[in-house]
Structure formats: structure tokens, C-alpha cells
Symmetry: C2
Subunit: 366 residues, 2 copies
DNA sequence: CTGAAAGCGCTTACAG
DNA sequence: CTGAAAGCGCTTACAG
């Protein structure tokens, strides 16, 4: 009550020490639970902290401790497109980021999020700046070259998402191979579709490359006729999927019996385009997705897709990163299982699988 | 080339200075574009930085500068519910956060995101810790009491979302009043529905309170019969909306002609529940939402709702906060305009407004 | 148990 | 233009 409101300047640990009549070392100790301060000392410090509403400065702590308790996740901000705020980024990345955040929370870490535009220049420099603010980096795919990633990894631990591990960085991804294999078999073997196409995602996406590769191998292997090539090049978003279909139809092309889309967003665009032309899904053309984003079950018909544990992907990324930050640990690569979700867009009725066949492929089937 | 890889320990500005044969002051200057270093000095520093892959430590910079160039956004993590990762949080908050991030980017700021569980204890302490790591705080609604907010605001600038400004904190929100008024008029006057209900959001939500208030005033004022009360209490998520309908139906209640939902998520649940009972929307019961989340246009029928500029809400929050951080500026309160989006769940056909009436109410209509 | 002091890695007046 | 030095607000051995 004697103290005038010293609202000017920031409150420091010195103010607290002064107010409590102890040294700054004691204040620090009780605030951090170090040592065994006398009960009275603790009391006095706590009271001073409370009365002054003191909050320790994070930058000073970090500098002193060598630990910021912050990790960053960097991702690509989608370009603008017809379906505005509905590109893959929004739906998919936000869930990953949420997973990171939840896992970080458990260890008392916070997460810094930063998006980079596709047209931004000097992305590497931007990310380097961010690296200086955190203890570790989680990088979504298609952000940086392997060389640039290696350079960053020399500064802070790095885990990439949907990429490949490098000598200096770790990677977490989903099991595209098993998921795509099960999906194609369902379409070709269970449903007996003889012509299928893969509407691809961004060409340079590692996930897309893996899915395309397995799709082609599996479909051809099963004797189905496969349509691929530049006319089937999408970009992971709804607008891309829609325009592929529109172009094909405008060119008078005959659609395959089933269209396997690189992700759910693409499938959404495809279904829109098909509906616009009066083509029935799944009666005339079956459509499938990949991801199982929340909206997938609300489409008409509900979308058959491969569920990735998206949030868990983020959580795992943090855990691997944390293991490296807090010790030498951290697996260089972890692959998460996926699950075939059979709904109706593939031709199955009422959400039931057509033939009796387990829908789950999480690790055990084949 | 003489230098052995000194991978141990972190690279500091001293290493760079040594490598370049200049003082740390010079290194700092060229790195920050201060003063006018000789061309040769700049060269040597830049080369050393490049060769060593030096990245300045953010904590040290922040401590020295008194600026962290980071703001935090704190929000409530939804509880678990039937519709898993589909609660209001996911859809709505992520878009806000993205808006914050995009605006922050423009000023070279990064954003720290942190969720607090509904059951977490000592939320105030958690947020205080975060406050120590940033230059400013953006708080979603229903996180803290006015007192707690005031205390925080003594430490760093604070802007709340969908709340009310306080002497020490600022607030950004959408114009619920105008939006709800237009919606109710469309239902009661344009469509002529005589009985309407408001399926509310979380009781303590300021947005919900404002919407409920205006709904009741406007509907009663127009002579419609209004259903309200505890049986119409939802919680902003799909499961809440669904269970209200199910309970009502199980109790043999007669549904009103139109159900105005507190938000789109609730409407989604309501439509599911209605469909499950074979009740046709909009023919038997009209349903409307609020927010215009991406999924709204994909529902069947497409959802009539009030569009809030969600991403802009986040961007504005950052801008107001930034004005305060970088100067004394920052409006204490900003209210963003909303827009009535007429689709088909209200009873309009094919997405066209029934009577000729401007759909937009962004500020100019009444 | 507690305090004085050094050190974390930067930036920035202050002198040359 | 450039360097030596102080200072940002903490934490933590090191002595009492």
C-alpha cells in the first residue's frame, strides 16, 4: 500500500525480491520449485508475486535456461482458389497442428505456427529466423529442399511431415501404401470395376507420389484398365478436382468407372463437377477420397476414403521432436497406420461393406 | 576451411565476429541493417554468416530489444463429443487463428497458439506463463473472468474476441445484432413462419447471449410465436443440436416451423437428427445456422446462415493488438459487419431468395 | 537455507 | 565507420 503504482517499465524479479525482502535467487527458486526454501521465504515470495502480479519474462528464462519450451510448425498457405477457404490447408493442416499443440501441452511446451505463401521468396531465410525462436521445428511437406532442411537441422532438431528422414532430420508419415492398396482392391476386386483413374494431388507431394505409385501397381496388377497422365493432374484442392473433370468432359472423354482422388478435397470437387453435369455417383462413376476429413461423411453420397490419423500425425511429430530436444532420442522415421473407411461413394449401400470383408486394415490385414 | 566443425554448443554472434574478423557490434549491425557499415565489412559478415549457417537467438534478441515479435492466441479446446473432431472449436477457431497468423506475418510477427481444456484448472496461471513469452495476447471468449483479464492486461496488451472491452483490454466481435435481425425477418416476414425457436449455444457465450436476445425481441416483435427455454439449450456443437431435437421428439413435443440455430455446427446436428426421424428440411421444418463455415454449403439442403468474416475477425484482432504494442494506439472495440446468406434450408428454392430482397445487410440495410 | 555474482546471446549508446 | 562495454531479466553453481 506504500508502493505507488509503478506501472512504468516492466516488473522484474528484482521488484519481487525487493518487495519480499529476499534475494532474486530466492525468488527464482521458489518460482521454479528448486532447492528447499524455508516455508516463510516461500510465503513471502508468493505473496509478493501475487500482489505485484509478477510474470517472469520468457525470453530471459529461455536465454538463461537454454530452453524456450516452444516448437514451431511451418506449413504452406494455399493459394487462393474458387472454393476460397476450403483448400487442403485449412482442413488438413489445422488438424495436424492441433495434434502438435495437444501433445506439446503435455510437456509444457507451446507451439508457434507460421505459414509461408507459395509465392513467398526466401522461404529458407524466413524459416531460419523462426528456428532462432524455438527449440525444434516441425515442417510440413514441400517447404524446403533436402539441402535446406539439412542446414536447418544443424541449428535445431527438425522433423518433417510426409517426407523422408535425412541423416540429420526425422520424419513422420502415414502408411499410404497399405491404405491405397486396400482401396484399390476394394474397387477392383470387391466391386469389380474394370476401369479406374487416379486424380493426383500436387505433383511434388511425397504423399501423392506414393499413392500414385501404389495405385498404378495395384490396379494394373489386378487387371484393371488404368487412366493416368497430365489430364488427371489435380492439386489437392476442390477446384483442381472439379476442373479436371470439367476439362475431361468438355473434351468428350469417357470417364472411368471409378475415380480415386488423391485426397478428400479433390473428391469433393469431383463430386461437385459430376453433379453439375448430372452424372450420378456412385451409379455411373464411383469416387473415393483419402484423409477422411470431417466433411467426408456429410457429402452426398458419403465419401469412401482412407482415414489417416491426422491429429495423431501431429502429436507424433511433436513427440519425436521432443525426444530429440530433451535427450538424444527420437526415431528417425515413424509410419502411422491408416484405415479404409467404406461409405457409399464407392458403390456400397447404406454404409455397409458390399462383400464381407474387414474394413480395417490397420496393420493386420496383408 | 581451417575451422573444424564446431557442432558442439550453439553458434553465437561471437563466432561470427571471430570468423569475419570484426566486432560483434558490426555483426549485429549488418544483420539488422543498422548504421552504414562499409561494403567490405558487410561482405565479410555476410560470408561468415553464410559459411557458419548462423541464426541469431530469438530469446537473446527479445531480451535485448524488449520485443519478442510474437503474439499468443489462446482458445478453448472442446470436450470430446459424439462428432469427435467436429466441434465448434475445430471449424471456427482454426479460421480465426489463421486470420491472426496471416495478419501477424505482415508485420513480421509470429503467433503462439495455446488451447486450454474446459476441465483444466488454474487457467489464469497457465495464460500468465504464456503472457511472459509474448508481446500481446488474443483471448477467445469464455476463457477468463473480467478480473483475470484485467490482471493480464497489466502485463501485456490484451484483445478479447467476442467479449466486451474493459478499461484495460480491447475487444473485436461481429455484428450479431444486425445479422440475427435480418435472419429472423427473412423467416418470419419473407417466409411467413409463425412459430420459431432458437436453439442456443453455450449459455455463457457472449455471442450466444446477443443472438438469443435479438432473436426473441425480433420474433416476438413480428408477432411470431417463440419457443425458448431449457429444452432448447444447446452447446454450439453438432451433438448438442442433435440431442435437443431428439429429446424434444421423444417427449412428443411439436416442433416449430423454423429452428434458428446458434451456429452452423448446431444446425448440422439438428439436420442430422431431423433426417434420422424422417422429418423434411425445409418442407416440414426450416433450419438456419450462423457463421457460414465451409461445410455449410455442402449440407443437404444447403444451409441458410449468417456469414461472419471469421478470418478477418482474427486479422483484425491482431491489427488492433499490434497498434497497441507498437504505439499507444488500438481502438478499444471494433465490430465487424456480417451478411445474411440465403440458401435452401430456410425454404428458399435453388439458392435464390424467395422475395426480392437484398441478401446483404453489411451495414447498409436497416 | 540463502545471497552475491557470473553468464546466457544479443543490441545499442558512447567513444574513438 | 567501428569496437569496448553495459545492460536486457533470468538461473544456477559457489560460498557462506
Amino acid at each position: 500500500m506504500a508502493e505507488p503504482n509503478k506501472t512504468k517499465g516492466t516488473l522484474t524479479i528484482y521488484d519481487v525480491a525487493h518487495h519480499a525482502g529476499v534475494s532474486i535467487a530466492s525468488v527464482s527458486r521458489v518460482l521454479n520449485g528448486q532447492g528447499s526454501p524455508r516455508a516463510e521465504t516461500r510465503e513471502r515470495v508468493m505473496r509478493a508475486v501475487r500482489e505485484l502480479s509478477f510474470v517472469p519474462d520468457g525470453a530471459a528464462r529461455a536465454l538463461s535456461n537454454g530452453l524456450k519450451e516452444v516448437v514451431a510448425v511451418v506449413f504452406r498457405r494455399g493459394g487462393e482458389n474458387e472454393f476460397q477457404d476450403e483448400d487442403e490447408s485449412l482442413l488438413f493442416m489445422d488438424v495436424i497442428n492441433r495434434g502438435v499443440e495437444v501433445a506439446a501441452q503435455r510437456q509444457g511446451f507451446d507451439v508457434l505456427i507460421s505459414s509461408v505463401g507459395i509465392t513467398d521468396d526466401n522461404v529458407a531465410a524466413r524459416i531460419a529466423l523462426i528456428a532462432g525462436k524455438v527449440d525444434g521445428l516441425i515442417l510440413h511437406d514441400r517447404l524446403l529442399s533436402a539441402v535446406a532442411i539439412a542446414r536447418l537441422a544443424g541449428i535445431v532438431p527438425v522433423v518433417t511431415l510426409a517426407g523422408s528422414p535425412t541423416p540429420s532430420s526425422m520424419n513422420v508419415r502415414c502408411d499410404n501404401e497399405t491404405g491405397m492398396r486396400a482401396l484399390v482392391r476394394h474397387l477392383v476386386i470387391d466391386h469389380g470395376y474394370r476401369s479406374v483413374a487416379y486424380l493426383s494431388g500436387t505433383a511434388d507431394s511425397p504423399d501423392n507420389q506414393a499413392r500414385a505409385r501404389v495405385f498404378e501397381a495395384e490396379a494394373t496388377g489386378s487387371g484393371a484398365q488404368v487412366q493416368v497422365g497430365p489430364s488427371w493432374q489435380g492439386n489437392y484442392n476442390a477446384a483442381g478436382g472439379a476442373s479436371v473433370i470439367t476439362s475431361l468432359l468438355d473434351a468428350g472423354a469417357e470417364l472411368p468407372r471409378a475415380i480415386v482422388c488423391a485426397n478428400d478435397q479433390t473428391a469433393l470437387g469431383v463430386m461437385h463437377a459430376l453433379a453439375r453435369r448430372g452424372i450420378k455417383v456412385p451409379d455411373e462413376v464411383a469416387v473415393t477420397g483419402f484423409d477422411d476429413v470431417p466433411v467426408a461423411r456429410h457429402l452426398h453420397p458419403p465419401l469412401t476414403t482412407v482415414r489417416q490419423p491426422i491429429q495423431e500425425l501431429g502429436a507424433t511429430a511433436f513427440e519425436v521432436l521432443y525426444a530429440r530436444i530433451s535427450a538424444a532420442g527420437g526415431a528417425p522415421e515413424v509410419v502411422l497406420p491408416v484405415e479404409l473407411i467404406v461409405r457409399q461413394s464407392c458403390g456400397c449401400a447404406g454404409g455397409a461393406t458390399l462383400p464381407r470383408r474387414p474394413a480395417s486394415i490397420a496393420g493386420h490385414e496383408i
